[in-house]
């Protein structure tokens, strides 16, 4: 019972039950309506035929008298499939005709019989073989009664047949529906059971679990697929969150300690002006705020909330803007910023974030390539294999191959001494921005054959082909 109960609670079964009931009602209504209408039509035909015959019989009587009438009736009664003919005396006793017995009292009233009546023919062998007919009674001036009728067996048989067909069809439908319910429902239940089993494990904290897929690509698979994609995202965000909180604890403590030390030192210097110390403290806290802002921005970009602000942006314009913005600074530190920009490169993206990402890359290049033998920093934008490549190449010390994955992580800086200013978040933001744009971030050496510490770094921001 409980199994059936559960089965009945599935949507598929409920819906099909509802449809079955509705369909049966419609079918039943249709059948009763059609049979009723056709019966009425047949009865009308019967009446018309009988009326025509009665008129003929009346004419025969007036023309040929009682004898002619009897002859005529005799002839008519003998025809195969003949109508009913009865000639009865004034008291109702049957004198001639093709009917063995009638319901009593039927011949008393002239005109149409009120309703179909039962009768027996001479050819009937038993009393059970009764027939039903509709008849018209004519009373002649000499008291004789003449009944002309027509058998109703055919229409009734027709009606019975249609109703029987309906019952059979409904029965088959019902049984079929039950079987299908059971098959579908059981299958669905099994798969849902498996899914809830997996989700229980996930809820218990095992985020690496995934919902099972049958591989058939049906709606359950599609559901599992999107839930799995969601889980993947949650797992990643969760991982990122954990990494960030670890790093925050570690990397923000350092500047906070420095801040505190400076304040303490200023406090200890009695009497003298503390202006310088206070300015340093403000500078230090600005750097902290900057780090926090960068962190927040990364997590906002990763959470995808800025994705709503995507629009068609002219990447070429952004690149030109940024190069123009950084060019004087590069010149100031003895570097040469060169741009090779293919014009009219339009992508779907967020102008501010792409600008910030490119700004971060340029900032890094300026910071680390300062003093390099080749002062060129090349920014290029172009299409390759359908994808849009935005690359920044410098000739600085570069990043060793085994560290390239690390430098993208938050707070990771190769420069252990932290002699260059920076938050250690620049590339993390670039990566997050690229992910938001469904693109990739690739790090490579600019001059792979150069000596160690002079290979240079090329960062490619790879955007998917613009949807046209």
């Amino acid at each position: 019972m409980s199994k059936i109960g559960v089965l009945f609670r599935t949507t598929a079964v409920r819906l099909s039950a509802l449809y079955l009931i509705l369909f049966s009602l419609c079918a039943a209504f249709l059948v009763f309506y059609v049979t009723g209408m056709s019966e009425r039509l047949l009865q009308q035909q019967t009446r018309d035929a009988v009326t025509a015959e009665v008129t003929q019989i009346e004419q025969v009587y007036t023309r040929a008298g009682i004898n002619g009438l009897l002859r005529s009736l005799e002839r008519r009664a003998r025809q195969p499939g003949a109508n009913l003919y009865v000639i009865a005396g004034p008291s109702g006793e049957i004198l001639a005709g093709n009917v063995a017995s009638l319901e009593p009292g039927l011949l008393d009233r002239e005109g149409w019989t009120d309703k179909p009546f039962a009768y027996q023919r001479y050819t009937d062998e038993t009393r059970q073989d009764s027939h039903v007919a509709l008849a018209h009674v004519l009373v002649l001036d000499n008291g004789l009664r003449i009944l002309v009728g027509r058998d109703l067996q055919e229409p009734q048989k027709f009606r019975a047949l249609v109703r029987q067909a309906l019952m059979v069809a409904l029965g088959i439908m019902g049984i079929g529906a039950l079987i299908i319910w059971f098959a579908i429902g059981r299958n669905a239940l099994k798969r849902i059971d498996r899914m809830s089993e997996a989700s229980t494990k996930i809820m218990a904290g095992d985020l690496s679990q995934r919902l099972p897929m049958s591989g058939s690509g049906d709606e359950f698979d599609r559901l599992s697929e999107s839930l799995n994609a969601m889980l993947e995202r949650i797992e990643k965000l969760n991982e990122g969150l954990r990494q960030v909180s670890d790093n925050i604890a570690h990397d923000l403590k350092t500047p906070l300690t420095r801040l505190r030390n400076k304040a303490e030192a200023a406090l200890a210097r009695k009497g003298t002006s503390q202006r310088g110390a206070l300015e340093e403290i403000i500078g230090e806290s600005d750097q902290l705020i900057r780090t926090f802002n960068a962190l927040l921005m990364i997590s906002r970009v990763e959470a995808g909330s800025a994705a709503a602000e995507m629009s068609e942006v002219d990447l070429s314009q952004i690149v030109s803007d940024c190069v123009e913005l950084y060019e004087p600074v590069a010149e100031d530190v003895g570097l040469r910023l060169e741009a090779d920009v293919e014009p009219g490169m339009v992508i779907s993206g967020n102008r501010e974030l792409v600008g910030q990402a490119l700004g971060n890359l340029l900032d890094n290049a300026l910071k680390y390539a300062e003093g390099a033998t080749d002062p060129q920093i090349k920014v290029s934008l172009g299409k390759r294999d359908g994808k849009v490549f935005l690359s920044v190449a410098d000739h600085g010390p570069g990043v060793p191959e085994d560290k390239r994955e690390d430098v993208v992580k938050r707070f990771v800086r190769l420069d252990e001494s932290r002699s260059k200013p920076g938050t250690g978040l620049g590339l993390s933001l670039v990566e997050a921005v690229m992910e938001m744009h469904h693109g990739d971030l690739d790090l490579a050496a600019t001059d792979p054959d150069a000596a160690e510490n002079g290979k240079g770094l090329t960062v490619h921001m790879v955007f998917p082909p613009p949807a046209s």
Partner: protein, 233 residues
């Protein structure tokens, strides 16, 4: 003589509001304070202010709804939105709601002051002025030419826009972020001193062959273009 600017701060953090009010008064700005959205909306509708400084998250009525309600009532006092939400999309929603400028918390007071002063002045500056003048420096917006003492100074398009913005706000401090926002139309953090280098290039072009410096660096705040002899503003 320029009348003193009058502003309204709508901010629920009493301590922060008191600090702001004190700092604004020291800068010569008359300052009122409302501590929730409803009373802020009432005060802003009943009195006339030059600028409203509105915190985004307020009790009783949030900042953005205060702004849209004011705009609905056809009150177009310039609004600067302060918010702890400082990301790109927050700025967009803030400006869409009818704000004129957006400053994420925490901010430097100098930044806020500079922006409030520019917003307050905006009412009086006719945008259609075709020629900006500071001392003997002339910028013609129509012909895109710059002259000093009648001598043409050739500028790059970006340098022209930089000077145009500085001169439009002559006598006002403009911060580096304001320059990045208004001249380059980007709101990101460029990390290095990119703006400073652009400004110093511009400065060398407009000051190199002349005695009187016009473009000054305001320590801890930004830049200001001003003719010291006429002592305007």
């Amino acid at each position: 003589m320029v009348t003193r600017m009058k502003i309204l701060i709508i901010e629920d953090d009493i301590e922060a509001a008191a600090y702001l009010a004190k700092a604004f008064r020291e800068a010569g700005i008359v300052c009122d304070h409302a501590s929730d959205g409803e009373s802020g909306l009432f005060m802003a509708s009943e009195n006339s202010y030059d600028v409203l400084v509105v915190d985004r998250m307020l009790p009783r009525r949030d900042g953005l709804s205060v702004i849209s309600e004011l705009r609905r009532k056809d009150i177009h006092t310039p609004v600067l939105i302060l918010s702890a939400l400082g990301q790109v999309d927050d700025r967009v929603t803030g400006l869409r709601a009818g704000g004129d400028d957006y400053l994420p918390k925490p901010y430097a007071f100098n930044e806020l002051l500079a922006r409030v002063e520019v917003l307050g002045r905006r009412k009086g500056t006719p945008e259609q002025d075709m020629v900006y003048r500071v001392g003997d420096l002339e910028l013609d917006r129509l012909s895109h030419s710059v002259r000093r003492q009648g001598k043409e100074i050739p500028l790059q398009p970006r340098e022209f826009r930089l000077l145009e913005y500085l001169m439009k706000n002559a006598g006002q401090v403009v911060t580096r972020t304001m320059l990045l926002e208004n001249v380059w139309d980007y709101h990101f953090d460029p990390q290095t001193n990119v703006i400073d280098v652009h400004v110093s290039r511009l400065r060398s072009k407009i000051e190199k062959d002349f005695d009187l410096p016009l473009l000054r660096t305001v320590r801890g705040a930004g830049y200001m273009i001003k003719d010291d002899r006429t002592a305007t503003a």
